[in-house]
Amino acid sequence: MKSIVFNGLTKAFGNRTVVQDLSFTAEPGRVTGFLGPNGAGKTTSLRVLLGLERATAGTATFGGSHYAAMPTPARNVGAVLEESRLHPGRTGRSHLRIHAVSGGIGRERVEEVLGQTGLADVAHRRVKSYSQGMAKRLAIATALLGDPEVLILDEPTNGLDPFGVRWLRDEMRKWANEGRVVLVSSHLLAEMELIVDDVVIIAAGRLLEKADVATLRGADGTSLEDVFIKLAGGGAGIR
């Protein structure tokens, strides 16, 4: 099982540095929370990891392998990106079938992930008729198509109702228990506190802290939110 390894990653857009010298590892069998406020550089870091953007310096790999260099990456890594959307004119099932073909994944997986995400009954409907929560579930189903050993979820609870949030929380725990790497980014610290084993906190593109949740919260059980506010200096670096 491959770990996710960020090693001195820096990403700049022109003169604006969005991520600076970011280093951490997400290990198999654990849910790693990648936390920070909006604009902290979480999505950019994940996009570089997934080969969608080029690193200015440093690397982001899966145990040393770059995403784009994998022969069938969707079989190894499943990702849900916050800004990644779905074509409204396609049905849920055709969306999954297209990506299954593209990723060299058997057609039977389409029905399996539809069942797994509770979308089997609405798979024939066009995506434009989906609620935000259903669209999010379809994006998660897409990530699961290749039965990957690494799952990357960017702000996955956005748009989900309380039932969906609970479902996703249980799924993430299940995936980690199966030995998969689960990296989940979010700015919802209270929510993440219920899910994650390890925490990586960034703000303004810089790493503030990386530790397991228990260590970070300490003996007095300080909330993750309080830890973050303290680390970020009461809002410094929040854009």
Binding site: G51, L52, I98, V101, S102
Partner: protein
């Protein structure tokens, strides 16, 4: 690569737009075929051409070829070309620009990180659709031509190499316009802007190209001269298509060879594809 082409074909077929474009293509072919059959009837019953028995000079040979059964058969078999290539151009532009418009590019590249492969697969898929459209319209036109020549007793020219060359070049035109559309949409990310520019490129036909080049000539020299208006006009893709795939001369008295049009279109298709590949590989994927 094969699975990526299949995925791109599935993308095209999974939205209703394809069927709307196919419906428009049917209407375009039906209308164009009716007009061409009417014109063919007029040409083939033209007394001067039908009864000409004088010496066949080079000029007359060209006229007889263009306006006689050979030219008319070719025109009928390539009916609907104009709107057909426009629809192919639109399909190509929409196929690429949909990824930016609906923010699906990231997901596409997650499943196929090799961006060149994705673009080549899109080009292959749209080219295949273009070829199918061309074959289907030619089949409809062939039925129309068989009925027309069978009922009117005109000597048909189905055995003429010129006719089938026109049909083959018509197929090439469809595919090259598909490549052109892919290139336009790759370079111009906005779907609306790409569609408008594609439409403008398509709209500059022979008369407009002639006027444009003639105006430029007037601005440069201000007088009549030996300015090669016709040769320059072929640089416009639509004119190149007309020159390439039509047996009828668009500019009377000016030598224009089909291969010149073919080379111009091929040049545009290949150049735009190469630019598209370079741009796609070198920039970050749009969020």
């Amino acid at each position: 690569m094969r699975r990526q082409i299949r995925a791109e074909l599935m993308k095209i077929c999974s939205v209703r737009r394809l069927w709307v474009l196919a419906g428009l293509a049917v209407l375009a072919v039906a209308g164009s075929l009716a007009v061409n059959l009417f014109q063919a009837y007029q040409m083939l019953t033209d007394l001067e051409i039908a009864t000409y028995s004088g010496p066949v000079t080079d000029e007359w040979r060209q006229i007889l070829e263009a306006y006689g059964p050979v030219g008319q058969t070719a025109e009928i078999l390539t009916s609907g070309q104009g709107l057909g290539i426009f629809l192919v151009l639109l399909l190509a532009i929409l196929t690429v620009s949909d990824e930016a418009r609906f923010h699906t590019a990231s997901m596409t590249y997650l499943f196929q990180p090799n961006r060149s492969n994705v673009l080549l697969a899109k080009t292959a898929a749209v080219s295949l659709c273009a070829a199918l459209l061309c074959v289907a319209t030619t089949a409809v036109n062939l039925v129309g031509a068989l009925i027309f020549f069978g009922n009117n007793g005109f000597g048909s020219a189905f055995a003429s190499g010129m006719v089938w060359r026109a049909v083959a070049l018509n197929l090439c035109a469809y595919i090259l316009w598909a490549m052109l559309g892919i290139g336009i949409a790759t370079v111009i990310r906005s779907q609306v802007a790409a569609a408008i520019i594609g439409t403008l490129v398509f709209m500059v036909d022979s008369p407009m190209a002639y006027q444009t080049v003639n105006s430029i000539r007037w601005l440069i020299s201000g007088e009549e001269g030996t300015f090669p208006i016709m040769a320059i006009s072929v640089a416009f893709p639509r004119v190149a298509t007309e020159v390439m795939a039509s047996t009828l001369s668009k500019f009377q008295g000016d030598p224009q060879h089909w291969w010149a049009g073919a080379l111009v279109l091929l040049g545009y298709g290949v150049t735009m594809s190469l630019i598209g590949l370079r741009v796609t590989n070198n920039r970050d994927v749009l969020r």
